[in-house]
Symmetry: C2
């Protein structure tokens, strides 16, 4: 970031140039340098300069031998010269006072050491001349005023912005927009993000009036802190949908060979997207499906009413609604008599509302008229049957635009029917399952949250950890207590008499453990004795004192075991994780992440999402879930304040009264 | 089933009639009775009779007032008269000696009480005349020699049979076959299955030479035992794919309002399909996708090599392969040098094999030539780019037919490219995720298994349970021991002296529990004492003897807790279930079913699939998984032999040495 100017001023000549120079324009119509020039010529009404050191004219325009030959400054240069020539071109541009560039050329950090050096060289030059640039290794950019890409698709202008960290996915989304008649406001292929990154582009688009929604393909976030601080405000104004490439070990490897970005853990990425209020999708198909909902104005709800002419389709759709935890409404009494009238004599109105195989467009119309006022999503499924033409019923559906309609067109004339609904900007699907999944993604969005991460450690806590790389058991206990995280009653003893005194204070049954100055596995060294009663204390002390002069006594308690952890993600910073505890953490990986600081709402979501909450309410028990929530929020505060690298509490035991931390491990 | 004749002889006049009567043929071209007649006329070369009690001719054919008027027997009658007229028509047909019928008419068991009575009446008539019939409430049937449906689609004949328990889904699949140029051998809409059911049709199709694969939409299985005994042999000859409608509570309700079938638990259905070697899919889209693999001859493997011209697509596909637990191969050294030659200078051959954005059809061809001999599935992804036309590369792919190719065509000219591959009968997808999912379904098939369920109870066990509705704790223990299921050492005591004697045999620490003659919750009544040592026995006995004159002593042991249960499914009979044990069974529902008798292989799959196995190998422990497997197989034998209605062992404790059952509960 260049300090002192807002991003929009900085990027103004990039997104709204008055003049463009194509450096490396080619006469060969199959070359990138030619296709880009033609695309610019066909779209841009400002001044166009062509630089080609061999030709006199390219595509009918006068060609300059070099940028310097132009002799005056230009708003934007588009670079397609071979990689080794890029630094000197940037230098020339800088001297002319050019402030923006798109570096199409590839072969930089994404391929080899030499490319990496070249990219650093370009960075240094651009820094010194304050040039902001897209790329290198980008497909280019399309704006409402110009197309500087080498894609062959023609694009209809509209309200959706596409931002992609992969050229191939970018081109695919251009074609998809064309095919589904979705209009684009901006298309930005990010390339290597040597300068301008995804968040910069989101920030620019946030103030662009023509952009209503942003669809992105992201393999990594350049600056997690900046992302978390800026994106919530953007999403407050317009939705951003994220398709993440590189979800796991193998996926992340593929990312590495593909771009120079580093992929963080996909689970934390997912938590970050949820925090900023974005929509996270798993596949390209999901991205295209959610787009149908986002770009319509149907006011889609979690509550659904299925209208169909095929019982089987109703069954399959009901199955999917159950799998996705959406809600099928009960038909209110107000509409039942009217619906009863229009159904075949033996049928009863229900949800799914089966209009029966002989339903024609008039029966669909009557049913929709009856239910249009209901506050729910109407999932209207049409199977092409002798009496039910998808096309006819699609035409009927258009009359109910804005009433929460989602159409599913199946069979003989589905393609034409889908086109009718798409042209009316209404969501239309080929499969009910896709529709349900898209509705789920859309209705799962939450309000964007900003994470304010100011370190304000409690003085006592700061003193406790100061200068230490390892906390002894009783120090870790004290640290948790300072942050209001409760533990079972405990005490330290260094003599048999003291042990008995502490035992009386702690209560029975209790646990006695060796207390050492170095990290060891206490159980493996036989340093833990469980279930001790009053009479056992003397013997237990004498046994453990052979291994350690100091012992720790702690009340033994029962309850549900939750896992609680904290970590510092390399991209998104401090985070907490919770889940089903004990050995099950590793086996079931039933966990959920949250970015620090975690609010009570977020902690409750984490417990629910990781199924830890189900554990707390299983078998009719009313365990104190609120205490677990509070413990998570306090842990998240501790992690920020003390800059904890890694810690866990396994288990946090939750019972009817409280949540108590057992066995904290802290890496400072 | 009519005893003494094989199904194929029985159904011969239905599937291969020499004459057909349309009873209820209509002159109104929009009526079902007219559309069917026209479909039959257009397809059937045998004798056609028309019955219409008002007209003299219908569609140019002489019309009889009634079946009786025809005066001679006919092979097949197709009934479209109103529901109340159906019984008398069947009676007439029976008297003429007609042995087969398709009852198109609806309004029977699926709608109301009167319809249900009518259906029973039809059944009785058909039984007495030995008429076999499809329906009622069916869309009809298409065979290689006639089309007796009221669907408007024209169908290309081929090798795929479609069998559907929903008319709407049936029509959809007809349209799908037309659209994707898949040829059909038979199409059977099952309707209410008052006589002929899904298994009958599978059985007929199993011996039909023209049918290579069967695609079915099933909401319920009519006779689980027959299904389990017949279908494994059928699937040994040709694959059956099952799409199940009604997966859960709400789904099952929707099934009830749709047909008269009863939906069993979807988890047991899934286990049954796995047992018989079928492919179980979740959605209609999955069914259509797996069809692309099944109908090709590409020899698809779990091991994959991705070939692409877009890095982003490679990343997303790698993600999906990881999510689905398929395997990306490492490129063997034999092909690396050749691939290196054809890639751009800086690129290294890897998997995904990124041919780079400027790859043309020649580069795809060279790459495919280099890898065609590898024993893996080649997932070839083409993103339409200036240099890469999907259509051109699809034409190239056809040259590699049979080399394990799956094509994914994306972007500008994807539709035309998909058609090219489909016409060559090669699997082709619009999204890589769909391709990966279909490959997963296909490669997850297992060898069909027949379940032989002969009750051969051990005499001692039979005597033990004889006349009892409830087993006391020590009786349940003995029963398990008879079947070779081990328990921690145990004994019963009725005096303090005996308690001490038993304790010495059992060993310490031990558990002492009240032992009563009625089912009670021992823990809740304070009837369980844990962790008892030698000195505790006297006191413990005197405490428990206040509640019960008999106590049970048992060695207390540690290990991983597995859940093990047995039940009798109303459709598929005896089954076992295993999963992560203790309270986690209910919270996590991480369970897996198997039909009895369960083999060692199946038990191992159940442990893996339910994640119980991960629990047994977590944290580097080598628990005795083989003992858990043996216990499951023995339990499955016990359930068959003794006809157990419901039982569970929670937990089965597994440690380094053995698997020991704790707390069995048995409902006789």
């Amino acid at each position: 970031m260049h300090i002192g100017l807002t991003i929009n001023t900085m990027l103004d000549t990039l997104f709204n140039p008055r003049s463009i120079a194509i450096v490396g324009a080619s006469r060969d119509t199959e070359k990138v340098g030619n296709i880009i020039l033609r695309n610019v010529k066909n779209t841009f009404s400002g001044k166009i300069y062509v630089v080609n050191n061999k030709a006199d004219t390219v595509e009918g325009l006068k060609s300059y031998k070099s940028l310097t030959d132009i002799g005056e400054s230009i708003d934007l240069m588009v670079i397609t010269v071979p990689r080794d020539a890029v630094p000197s071109v940037m230098e020339e541009g800088g001297k002319l006072g050019i402030k923006s560039a798109i570096i199409i050329t590839s072969g930089f950090k994404e391929v080899d050491e030499h490319g990496s050096e070249l990219q650093d060289k370009v960075s240094a030059i651009c820094n010194s001349y304050q040039i902001r640039y897209l790329g290198p290794n980008t497909l280019g950019m399309i704006t409402p005023t110009f197309n500087a890409t080498f894609a062959l698709t023609d694009v209809k202008m509209g309200n959706v912005a596409v931002v992609a960290q992969s050229g191939g996915i970018g081109v695919y989304m251009l074609d998809w927009a064309r095919k589904t008649r979705i209009g684009l406001s901006y298309f930005v292929s990010l390339g290597n993000e040597a300068d301008i990154n995804e968040t910069d582009v989101f920030e620019f688009l946030s103030t662009d009036a023509s952009t209503k929604a942003i669809f992105s393909y992201i393999e990594g976030i350049a600056d997690g802190n900046r992302f978390l601080s800026i994106v919530p405000d953007i999403i407050g104004r317009k939705p951003i949908i994220f398709l993440k490439g590189g979800i796991g070990i193998k996926g992340a490897q593929a990312v590495k060979t593909h771009t120079a970005s580093v992929a963080g853990s996909v689970d934390i990425f997912r938590a970050a997207i949820r925090t900023v209020g974005g929509i996270f999708v798993d596949t390209l198909e999901d991205l295209l499906n959610i787009a149908k909902i986002i770009t319509s104005d149907e006011g889609i709800k979690k509550d659904l009413l299925i209208v169909t002419n095929s019982g089987g389709h109703g069954v399959l759709t009901t199955d999917e609604i159950e799998r996705r935890s959406l809600n099928l409404i009960s038909l209110p009494d107000t509409v039942v008599p009217e619906l009863k009238k229009l159904l075949p004599s033996q049928s009863k109105p229900a949800n799914p509302l089966d209009l029966s195989g002989d339903a024609d467009r008039m029966r669909y119309k009557s049913a929709l008229t009856a239910i249009q006022g209901l506050d729910c999503t109407k999932l209207v499924i049409v199977e092409a049957l002798p009496m039910s033409s998808c096309v006819e019923i699609a035409k009927t559906l258009i009359g109910f635009k804005g009433k929460g309609i989602v159409g599913v067109m199946m069979g003989l004339d589905e393609d034409a029917a889908l086109r009718i609904l798409e042209s009316a900007n209404m969501p239309a699907f080929q499969f009910p399952e896709d529709a349900v999944k898209a509705i789920k993604y859309f209705t799962d969005q939450v309000k964007p949250t900003k994470k304010i991460r100011v370190k304000q450690p409690v003085l006592e806590a700061e003193e406790l950890i100061s200068g230490k790389s390892y906390l002894r058991d009783f120090e870790a206990f004290k640290l948790l207590e300072i942050y209001g995280i409760r533990l079972p009653k405990w005490g330290i003893a260094t003599s048999p008499e003291e042990a008995i005194k502490v035992a009386e204070q702690v209560g029975y049954p209790l646990v006695m453990k060796v207390s050492l100055d170095s990290p060891v596995h206490k159980t493996e060294m036989g340093g833990v004795l469980l279930g001790l009663q009053k009479g056992d204390i003397n013997g237990a002390y004498s046994e453990l004192s052979k291994k350690s002069s100091r012992v720790l006594l702690q009340k033994q308690i029962n309850g549900a075991e939750i896992f609680l952890g904290g970590l510092k993600d390399p991209v998104f910073g401090p985070a907490v994780v919770t889940g089903v505890g004990g050995i099950y953490v590793e086996v079931l990986k039933s966990i959920s992440y949250g970015l620090c600081p975690v609010s009570e709402d977020e902690a409750a979501f984490m417990l629910l999402h990781s199924k830890a909450q189900q554990l707390l309410s299983a078998r009719g028990k009313s365990y104190n879930i609120d205490s677990a929530i509070t413990t998570i929020t306090r842990l998240s505060r501790l992690i920020i304040d003390l800059d904890i690298k890694e810690m866990d509490i396994n288990p946090l035991i939750v019972n009817e009264d409280e949540a108590l931390a057992i066995d904290p491990r802290i890496v400072l």
